[in-house]
Amino acid sequence: MNEGWLALMQQAFSLLLSLDPDVWSIISVSFSVSFAALIITLIPSIVLGFFLASYQFPGRWFVTNIVQTLQSIPTVVIGLLAYLLLTRNGPLGDLRWLFTQEGMILGQMMICAPVLIALSQAAFSSIDKRAYETSRTLGASWQRAIWTVCRELRVPLLLAVIAAFSRILTEVGCSMMVGGNILHHTRNIPTAIALETSKGDFAQAIALGLVLLILAIVINFAIGSLRGKAMPRSQ
Protein backbone atom coordinates (compact mmCIF):
# COMPACT_ATOMS: atom_id res chain seq x y z
CA MET A 1 0.00 0.00 0.00
CA ASN A 2 2.75 2.41 0.99
CA GLU A 3 4.68 1.66 -2.13
CA GLY A 4 1.54 2.15 -4.18
CA TRP A 5 1.21 5.60 -2.70
CA LEU A 6 4.80 6.48 -3.38
CA ALA A 7 4.52 5.32 -6.96
CA LEU A 8 1.37 7.41 -7.41
CA MET A 9 3.02 10.52 -6.03
CA GLN A 10 6.01 9.97 -8.28
CA GLN A 11 3.78 9.65 -11.31
CA ALA A 12 1.88 12.75 -10.30
CA PHE A 13 5.03 14.83 -9.97
CA SER A 14 6.46 13.56 -13.23
CA LEU A 15 3.19 14.48 -14.99
CA LEU A 16 3.54 18.03 -13.71
CA LEU A 17 7.27 18.39 -14.24
CA SER A 18 7.36 16.76 -17.66
CA LEU A 19 4.81 19.37 -18.79
CA ASP A 20 2.35 16.69 -19.83
CA PRO A 21 0.21 18.47 -22.46
CA ASP A 22 -3.11 17.09 -21.24
CA VAL A 23 -2.45 18.12 -17.66
CA TRP A 24 -1.28 21.59 -18.63
CA SER A 25 -4.18 22.15 -21.00
CA ILE A 26 -6.54 21.34 -18.13
CA ILE A 27 -4.69 23.78 -15.86
CA SER A 28 -4.77 26.53 -18.44
CA VAL A 29 -8.51 26.09 -19.09
CA SER A 30 -9.13 26.37 -15.36
CA PHE A 31 -7.12 29.53 -14.91
CA SER A 32 -8.18 31.32 -18.07
CA VAL A 33 -11.89 30.69 -17.45
CA SER A 34 -11.77 31.65 -13.78
CA PHE A 35 -9.60 34.72 -14.40
CA ALA A 36 -11.98 35.93 -17.08
CA ALA A 37 -14.98 35.47 -14.78
CA LEU A 38 -13.18 37.29 -11.97
CA ILE A 39 -11.99 40.21 -14.11
CA ILE A 40 -15.42 40.84 -15.62
CA THR A 41 -17.25 40.80 -12.29
CA LEU A 42 -14.59 42.52 -10.17
CA ILE A 43 -15.23 46.25 -10.62
CA PRO A 44 -19.06 46.19 -10.88
CA SER A 45 -19.33 43.93 -7.83
CA ILE A 46 -17.06 46.09 -5.68
CA VAL A 47 -18.91 49.24 -6.76
CA LEU A 48 -22.23 47.58 -5.89
CA GLY A 49 -20.79 46.47 -2.54
CA PHE A 50 -19.75 50.07 -1.91
CA PHE A 51 -23.23 51.40 -2.68
CA LEU A 52 -24.96 48.77 -0.57
CA ALA A 53 -22.71 49.67 2.35
CA SER A 54 -22.83 53.44 1.96
CA TYR A 55 -26.33 54.47 0.94
CA GLN A 56 -29.76 54.04 2.40
CA PHE A 57 -32.30 53.44 -0.34
CA PRO A 58 -35.59 51.60 -0.53
CA GLY A 59 -34.93 47.91 -1.21
CA ARG A 60 -31.40 47.92 0.21
CA TRP A 61 -32.34 45.43 2.87
CA PHE A 62 -33.93 43.18 0.23
CA VAL A 63 -30.96 43.34 -2.17
CA THR A 64 -28.51 42.62 0.64
CA ASN A 65 -30.41 39.51 1.65
CA ILE A 66 -30.75 38.30 -1.94
CA VAL A 67 -26.99 38.63 -2.39
CA GLN A 68 -26.36 36.74 0.84
CA THR A 69 -28.71 34.00 -0.31
CA LEU A 70 -27.09 33.70 -3.75
CA GLN A 71 -23.76 33.39 -2.04
CA SER A 72 -24.82 30.28 -0.21
CA ILE A 73 -26.62 28.47 -3.05
CA PRO A 74 -24.75 25.27 -4.08
CA THR A 75 -22.87 25.63 -7.35
CA VAL A 76 -24.80 22.79 -9.01
CA VAL A 77 -27.97 24.82 -8.61
CA ILE A 78 -26.29 27.81 -10.25
CA GLY A 79 -25.07 25.36 -12.90
CA LEU A 80 -28.65 24.25 -13.45
CA LEU A 81 -29.77 27.85 -13.76
CA ALA A 82 -26.96 28.65 -16.22
CA TYR A 83 -27.80 25.51 -18.19
CA LEU A 84 -31.44 26.53 -18.47
CA LEU A 85 -30.39 29.99 -19.64
CA LEU A 86 -27.99 28.62 -22.26
CA THR A 87 -29.87 25.62 -23.56
CA ARG A 88 -31.16 25.80 -27.17
CA ASN A 89 -34.64 26.94 -26.15
CA GLY A 90 -33.46 29.05 -23.24
CA PRO A 91 -33.37 32.86 -23.20
CA LEU A 92 -29.65 32.92 -24.10
CA GLY A 93 -29.86 29.85 -26.37
CA ASP A 94 -28.99 31.85 -29.49
CA LEU A 95 -25.52 32.51 -28.15
CA ARG A 96 -24.69 28.77 -28.55
CA TRP A 97 -22.58 28.96 -25.40
CA LEU A 98 -23.55 25.61 -23.89
CA PHE A 99 -20.46 23.36 -23.52
CA THR A 100 -18.09 26.22 -24.33
CA GLN A 101 -15.67 28.24 -22.25
CA GLU A 102 -17.91 31.30 -22.64
CA GLY A 103 -20.71 29.34 -21.00
CA MET A 104 -18.39 28.32 -18.16
CA ILE A 105 -17.34 31.95 -17.70
CA LEU A 106 -20.97 33.03 -17.48
CA GLY A 107 -21.72 30.33 -14.91
CA GLN A 108 -18.67 31.23 -12.83
CA MET A 109 -19.58 34.91 -12.97
CA MET A 110 -22.91 34.03 -11.39
CA ILE A 111 -21.03 32.29 -8.58
CA CYS A 112 -18.32 34.93 -8.24
CA ALA A 113 -20.39 38.11 -8.15
CA PRO A 114 -22.45 37.43 -4.99
CA VAL A 115 -19.31 36.48 -3.05
CA LEU A 116 -17.54 39.65 -4.15
CA ILE A 117 -20.55 41.88 -3.49
CA ALA A 118 -21.26 40.45 -0.05
CA LEU A 119 -17.63 40.51 1.13
CA SER A 120 -16.87 43.97 -0.24
CA GLN A 121 -20.09 45.28 1.31
CA ALA A 122 -18.88 43.89 4.63
CA ALA A 123 -15.48 45.52 4.09
CA PHE A 124 -16.96 48.92 3.24
CA SER A 125 -19.34 48.75 6.20
CA SER A 126 -16.37 48.47 8.51
CA ILE A 127 -14.74 51.70 7.34
CA ASP A 128 -14.32 54.60 9.69
CA LYS A 129 -16.35 57.41 8.08
CA ARG A 130 -13.65 59.85 9.10
CA ALA A 131 -11.38 58.34 6.41
CA TYR A 132 -13.64 59.67 3.65
CA GLU A 133 -14.41 62.91 5.50
CA THR A 134 -10.75 63.64 6.22
CA SER A 135 -9.76 63.02 2.63
CA ARG A 136 -12.53 65.24 1.24
CA THR A 137 -12.09 68.05 3.72
CA LEU A 138 -8.36 68.15 2.94
CA GLY A 139 -9.39 68.95 -0.61
CA ALA A 140 -9.37 65.56 -2.36
CA SER A 141 -11.91 64.92 -5.12
CA TRP A 142 -14.55 62.31 -4.36
CA GLN A 143 -12.82 59.93 -6.77
CA ARG A 144 -9.56 60.22 -4.86
CA ALA A 145 -11.36 59.96 -1.52
CA ILE A 146 -12.97 56.68 -2.61
CA TRP A 147 -9.58 55.45 -3.77
CA THR A 148 -8.19 56.35 -0.34
CA VAL A 149 -10.98 54.41 1.35
CA CYS A 150 -10.20 51.36 -0.82
CA ARG A 151 -6.54 51.72 0.10
CA GLU A 152 -7.44 51.77 3.79
CA LEU A 153 -9.46 48.60 3.18
CA ARG A 154 -6.94 46.85 0.96
CA VAL A 155 -6.62 43.78 3.18
CA PRO A 156 -10.34 42.94 3.51
CA LEU A 157 -10.91 43.78 -0.19
CA LEU A 158 -8.07 41.55 -1.29
CA LEU A 159 -9.44 38.81 0.93
CA ALA A 160 -12.80 39.21 -0.82
CA VAL A 161 -11.17 38.85 -4.23
CA ILE A 162 -9.22 35.79 -3.16
CA ALA A 163 -12.26 34.16 -1.57
CA ALA A 164 -14.26 34.69 -4.77
CA PHE A 165 -11.45 33.44 -7.00
CA SER A 166 -10.85 30.29 -4.99
CA ARG A 167 -14.55 29.54 -4.97
CA ILE A 168 -14.81 29.61 -8.77
CA LEU A 169 -11.45 27.97 -9.38
CA THR A 170 -12.41 24.98 -7.27
CA GLU A 171 -16.11 24.54 -7.99
CA VAL A 172 -17.15 21.38 -9.85
CA GLY A 173 -20.91 21.51 -10.24
CA CYS A 174 -21.39 24.44 -12.55
CA SER A 175 -18.35 23.75 -14.74
CA MET A 176 -19.40 20.14 -15.19
CA MET A 177 -22.97 20.98 -16.22
CA VAL A 178 -22.32 24.01 -18.38
CA GLY A 179 -18.87 23.08 -19.71
CA GLY A 180 -19.42 19.39 -20.26
CA ASN A 181 -15.87 18.34 -19.34
CA ILE A 182 -14.52 18.18 -22.93
CA LEU A 183 -10.74 17.60 -23.00
CA HIS A 184 -8.65 20.54 -24.32
CA HIS A 185 -11.78 22.63 -24.44
CA THR A 186 -13.84 22.78 -21.28
CA ARG A 187 -12.15 20.29 -18.97
CA ASN A 188 -10.76 22.17 -15.98
CA ILE A 189 -9.01 21.06 -12.82
CA PRO A 190 -12.02 20.17 -10.65
CA THR A 191 -13.97 18.36 -13.38
CA ALA A 192 -10.82 16.48 -14.42
CA ILE A 193 -10.15 15.38 -10.85
CA ALA A 194 -13.71 14.11 -10.52
CA LEU A 195 -13.46 12.23 -13.81
CA GLU A 196 -9.98 10.73 -13.35
CA THR A 197 -10.80 9.61 -9.82
CA SER A 198 -13.94 7.85 -11.01
CA LYS A 199 -11.88 6.15 -13.73
CA GLY A 200 -9.28 5.06 -11.17
CA ASP A 201 -6.50 7.14 -12.79
CA PHE A 202 -5.29 8.63 -9.56
CA ALA A 203 -1.94 9.95 -10.77
CA GLN A 204 -3.48 12.68 -12.91
CA ALA A 205 -6.04 13.51 -10.23
CA ILE A 206 -3.29 13.89 -7.65
CA ALA A 207 -1.17 15.99 -10.01
CA LEU A 208 -4.07 18.41 -10.50
CA GLY A 209 -4.92 18.35 -6.81
CA LEU A 210 -1.32 19.31 -6.08
CA VAL A 211 -1.65 22.38 -8.31
CA LEU A 212 -4.60 23.59 -6.25
CA LEU A 213 -2.82 22.75 -3.01
CA ILE A 214 0.34 24.66 -3.98
CA LEU A 215 -1.76 27.61 -5.10
CA ALA A 216 -3.60 27.61 -1.76
CA ILE A 217 -0.30 27.59 0.12
CA VAL A 218 1.16 30.44 -1.93
CA ILE A 219 -1.95 32.60 -1.62
CA ASN A 220 -2.31 32.08 2.10
CA PHE A 221 1.31 32.84 2.86
CA ALA A 222 1.10 35.91 0.64
CA ILE A 223 -1.93 37.12 2.58
CA GLY A 224 -0.12 36.36 5.80
CA SER A 225 2.76 38.62 4.83
CA LEU A 226 0.37 41.32 3.63
CA ARG A 227 -1.38 41.36 6.98
CA GLY A 228 2.07 41.67 8.45
CA LYS A 229 2.40 42.05 12.15
CA ALA A 230 -1.04 43.60 12.41
CA MET A 231 -2.12 43.30 15.99
CA PRO A 232 -5.29 44.47 17.63
CA ARG A 233 -4.92 48.05 18.78
CA SER A 234 -6.52 50.27 21.27
CA GLN A 235 -6.75 53.93 20.51
Binding site: D128, R130, A131, E133, T134, S135, R136, T137, L138, G139, A140, S141, W142, T148, R151, E152, R233, Q235
Partner: protein, 235 residues
Protein backbone atom coordinates in the same frame (compact mmCIF):
# COMPACT_ATOMS: atom_id res chain seq x y z
CA UNK B 1 -12.63 87.86 -3.55
CA UNK B 2 -12.48 86.55 -0.02
CA UNK B 3 -13.66 83.03 0.59
CA UNK B 4 -16.70 82.92 2.82
CA UNK B 5 -19.12 80.36 4.19
CA UNK B 6 -22.48 81.62 5.37
CA UNK B 7 -25.00 79.53 7.26
CA UNK B 8 -28.57 80.83 7.33
CA UNK B 9 -31.63 79.90 9.38
CA UNK B 10 -30.09 76.63 10.39
CA UNK B 11 -31.53 74.23 12.87
CA UNK B 12 -30.21 70.81 13.79
CA UNK B 13 -32.12 68.01 15.45
CA UNK B 14 -31.20 64.46 16.25
CA UNK B 15 -34.43 62.47 16.33
CA UNK B 16 -36.82 64.58 18.41
CA UNK B 17 -34.09 66.39 20.30
CA UNK B 18 -33.21 69.89 19.13
CA UNK B 19 -29.48 70.53 19.34
CA UNK B 20 -29.23 74.19 18.31
CA UNK B 21 -30.47 76.81 15.87
CA UNK B 22 -29.35 80.20 14.63
CA UNK B 23 -30.28 82.80 12.02
CA UNK B 24 -27.03 83.82 10.45
CA UNK B 25 -23.37 82.98 10.98
CA UNK B 26 -20.53 83.58 8.59
CA UNK B 27 -16.98 82.37 8.54
CA UNK B 28 -14.58 84.32 6.31
CA UNK B 29 -10.93 84.34 5.36
CA UNK B 30 -9.12 86.39 7.98
CA UNK B 31 -11.60 85.62 10.77
CA UNK B 32 -10.26 84.03 13.91
CA UNK B 33 -13.21 82.70 15.86
CA UNK B 34 -13.39 81.02 19.22
CA UNK B 35 -16.26 78.52 19.42
CA UNK B 36 -17.27 77.83 22.97
CA UNK B 37 -19.79 75.44 24.44
CA UNK B 38 -20.22 72.75 27.03
CA UNK B 39 -19.73 69.05 26.31
CA UNK B 40 -22.55 67.89 24.10
CA UNK B 41 -23.69 71.40 23.19
CA UNK B 42 -22.91 70.78 19.52
CA UNK B 43 -19.52 72.35 18.77
CA UNK B 44 -18.35 69.42 16.65
CA UNK B 45 -21.73 69.22 14.98
CA UNK B 46 -21.63 72.92 14.04
CA UNK B 47 -18.17 72.51 12.53
CA UNK B 48 -19.19 69.43 10.56
CA UNK B 49 -22.18 71.38 9.29
CA UNK B 50 -19.97 74.19 7.99
CA UNK B 51 -17.50 71.65 6.56
CA UNK B 52 -20.33 70.03 4.57
CA UNK B 53 -19.99 66.68 6.32
CA UNK B 54 -23.54 66.81 7.67
CA UNK B 55 -26.64 68.55 6.37
CA UNK B 56 -28.89 70.75 8.49
CA UNK B 57 -32.51 69.76 9.10
CA UNK B 58 -33.45 73.17 7.80
CA UNK B 59 -31.51 76.10 6.41
CA UNK B 60 -28.49 76.29 4.12
CA UNK B 61 -24.76 76.78 4.10
CA UNK B 62 -23.59 78.86 1.14
CA UNK B 63 -20.03 79.16 -0.14
CA UNK B 64 -18.86 82.29 -1.96
CA UNK B 65 -15.49 83.42 -3.23
CA UNK B 66 -14.04 80.00 -4.04
CA UNK B 67 -12.45 79.07 -7.35
CA UNK B 68 -15.05 77.67 -9.77
CA UNK B 69 -14.90 73.91 -10.33
CA UNK B 70 -14.53 72.10 -13.64
CA UNK B 71 -17.64 70.34 -14.90
CA UNK B 72 -16.43 66.89 -13.83
CA UNK B 73 -15.65 67.97 -10.29
CA UNK B 74 -18.38 68.01 -7.72
CA UNK B 75 -19.09 71.47 -6.43
CA UNK B 76 -20.15 70.41 -2.97
CA UNK B 77 -19.48 72.18 0.28
CA UNK B 78 -17.12 69.35 1.27
CA UNK B 79 -13.54 70.41 0.75
CA UNK B 80 -14.18 74.17 0.90
CA UNK B 81 -13.06 74.45 4.50
CA UNK B 82 -10.67 72.01 6.14
CA UNK B 83 -12.13 70.36 9.23
CA UNK B 84 -9.88 68.67 11.74
CA UNK B 85 -11.76 66.00 13.67
CA UNK B 86 -11.71 66.12 17.43
CA UNK B 87 -10.03 62.71 17.25
CA UNK B 88 -7.85 63.04 14.20
CA UNK B 89 -8.05 60.36 11.54
CA UNK B 90 -4.67 59.27 10.19
CA UNK B 91 -4.38 57.22 7.03
CA UNK B 92 -2.83 53.78 7.13
CA UNK B 93 0.82 54.42 6.29
CA UNK B 94 3.86 56.29 7.49
CA UNK B 95 3.89 59.72 9.10
CA UNK B 96 5.43 61.05 5.90
CA UNK B 97 2.65 59.57 3.76
CA UNK B 98 0.11 61.35 5.92
CA UNK B 99 1.96 64.65 5.78
CA UNK B 100 2.20 64.54 2.02
CA UNK B 101 -1.36 63.32 1.45
CA UNK B 102 -2.81 66.70 0.58
CA UNK B 103 0.07 68.63 -0.95
CA UNK B 104 -1.44 71.59 -2.84
CA UNK B 105 0.43 70.74 -6.05
CA UNK B 106 -1.44 73.18 -8.25
CA UNK B 107 -0.83 76.21 -6.07
CA UNK B 108 2.87 75.87 -5.30
CA UNK B 109 6.00 75.01 -7.26
CA UNK B 110 7.90 71.83 -6.29
CA UNK B 111 10.54 73.89 -4.50
CA UNK B 112 7.95 75.81 -2.50
CA UNK B 113 6.22 72.53 -1.60
CA UNK B 114 9.50 71.04 -0.46
CA UNK B 115 10.15 74.05 1.74
CA UNK B 116 6.65 73.95 3.16
CA UNK B 117 6.89 70.25 4.02
CA UNK B 118 10.26 70.83 5.68
CA UNK B 119 8.83 73.71 7.65
CA UNK B 120 5.85 71.64 8.79
CA UNK B 121 8.13 68.83 9.94
CA UNK B 122 10.25 71.34 11.80
CA UNK B 123 7.38 73.19 13.47
CA UNK B 124 5.51 70.05 14.50
CA UNK B 125 8.78 68.34 15.48
CA UNK B 126 7.97 65.20 13.56
CA UNK B 127 11.49 64.74 12.13
CA UNK B 128 12.37 61.68 14.18
CA UNK B 129 8.98 60.06 13.51
CA UNK B 130 8.78 60.47 9.72
CA UNK B 131 9.26 56.79 8.90
CA UNK B 132 7.17 55.34 11.70
CA UNK B 133 3.66 54.03 11.24
CA UNK B 134 1.04 56.69 11.85
CA UNK B 135 -0.94 54.18 13.90
CA UNK B 136 1.91 53.87 16.39
CA UNK B 137 1.88 57.54 17.40
CA UNK B 138 0.79 58.75 20.80
CA UNK B 139 -2.39 60.79 21.17
CA UNK B 140 -0.57 64.12 21.26
CA UNK B 141 1.68 63.19 18.34
CA UNK B 142 -1.33 62.17 16.26
CA UNK B 143 -2.91 65.52 16.92
CA UNK B 144 0.29 67.35 15.96
CA UNK B 145 0.60 65.35 12.76
CA UNK B 146 -3.00 66.09 11.82
CA UNK B 147 -2.48 69.80 12.35
CA UNK B 148 0.76 69.75 10.34
CA UNK B 149 -1.02 67.87 7.52
CA UNK B 150 -3.69 70.57 7.35
CA UNK B 151 -1.12 73.34 7.81
CA UNK B 152 0.79 72.27 4.69
CA UNK B 153 -2.24 72.86 2.48
CA UNK B 154 -2.41 76.52 3.57
CA UNK B 155 -6.19 76.37 3.61
CA UNK B 156 -8.41 79.40 3.16
CA UNK B 157 -10.59 78.26 6.03
CA UNK B 158 -9.56 75.86 8.77
CA UNK B 159 -11.62 74.46 11.63
CA UNK B 160 -9.82 72.93 14.57
CA UNK B 161 -11.96 70.83 16.91
CA UNK B 162 -10.38 70.91 20.38
CA UNK B 163 -6.90 70.94 18.86
CA UNK B 164 -4.86 70.94 22.05
CA UNK B 165 -7.00 68.80 24.30
CA UNK B 166 -4.42 65.98 24.48
CA UNK B 167 -1.28 68.04 24.61
CA UNK B 168 1.44 68.91 27.05
CA UNK B 169 2.70 72.48 27.28
CA UNK B 170 5.52 71.91 24.81
CA UNK B 171 3.17 70.59 22.09
CA UNK B 172 0.68 73.34 22.80
CA UNK B 173 3.43 75.86 22.09
CA UNK B 174 4.28 74.19 18.78
CA UNK B 175 0.66 74.20 17.71
CA UNK B 176 0.21 77.79 18.80
CA UNK B 177 3.17 78.79 16.63
CA UNK B 178 1.80 76.97 13.56
CA UNK B 179 -1.62 78.49 14.01
CA UNK B 180 -0.06 81.91 14.36
CA UNK B 181 1.63 81.50 10.99
CA UNK B 182 -1.68 80.53 9.38
CA UNK B 183 -3.30 83.55 10.97
CA UNK B 184 -0.63 85.77 9.44
CA UNK B 185 -1.13 84.09 6.06
CA UNK B 186 -4.78 85.12 6.29
CA UNK B 187 -6.37 81.72 6.88
CA UNK B 188 -9.78 81.93 8.50
CA UNK B 189 -9.71 79.94 11.72
CA UNK B 190 -12.51 78.49 13.79
CA UNK B 191 -11.22 76.96 17.00
CA UNK B 192 -13.40 75.09 19.43
CA UNK B 193 -12.67 74.53 23.03
CA UNK B 194 -14.86 74.09 26.06
CA UNK B 195 -12.44 76.25 27.99
CA UNK B 196 -10.31 79.32 27.32
CA UNK B 197 -6.67 78.57 26.62
CA UNK B 198 -3.62 80.00 24.89
CA UNK B 199 -5.27 79.46 21.51
CA UNK B 200 -8.45 81.30 22.29
CA UNK B 201 -6.38 84.37 23.15
CA UNK B 202 -5.61 84.65 19.43
CA UNK B 203 -9.28 84.96 18.54
CA UNK B 204 -11.16 88.08 17.52
CA UNK B 205 -14.68 86.75 17.47
CA UNK B 206 -16.63 84.56 19.80
CA UNK B 207 -19.37 82.06 19.03
CA UNK B 208 -21.05 80.63 22.07
CA UNK B 209 -23.47 77.72 22.03
CA UNK B 210 -25.74 77.86 25.02
CA UNK B 211 -29.36 77.00 25.57
CA UNK B 212 -29.67 75.64 22.03
CA UNK B 213 -28.67 78.94 20.44
CA UNK B 214 -25.45 80.01 18.79
CA UNK B 215 -24.66 83.55 19.88
CA UNK B 216 -22.07 85.66 18.12
CA UNK B 217 -20.10 88.42 19.84
CA UNK B 218 -16.76 90.17 19.64
CA UNK B 219 -16.02 89.79 23.31
CA UNK B 220 -13.47 87.05 23.97
CA UNK B 221 -13.58 85.63 27.48
CA UNK B 222 -10.20 86.38 29.00
CA UNK B 223 -7.75 83.58 29.43
CA UNK B 224 -6.37 83.20 32.94
CA UNK B 225 -3.03 81.55 33.39
CA UNK B 226 -4.15 79.63 36.46
CA UNK B 227 -6.99 78.07 34.52
CA UNK B 228 -4.54 76.67 32.01
CA UNK B 229 -2.52 74.94 34.70
CA UNK B 230 -5.64 73.43 36.06
CA UNK B 231 -6.60 72.29 32.57
CA UNK B 232 -3.23 70.80 31.75
CA UNK B 233 -3.00 68.88 34.97
CA UNK B 234 -6.46 67.45 34.44
CA UNK B 235 -5.34 65.80 31.20
Amino acid sequence: MTAKLTAKNVSINFKERKLFEFDNLSFCEGDVIYLQGDNGSGKSTLMKLIAGIIKPNSGDVIATGFAPKKWWQSNSLLGKAVYLHQHAYLFDGSVEYNLRYALPKTRFSPQELQARVAQAIESAQLGSLLKSDATDLSGGERQRLAIARAWITQPKLLMLDEPISNMDKQSQKLVLAMINILKQEGTGLLISSHQTCGLTALCQKHWHISEQKVVESSHIPSFEQSQEFHYVSAN
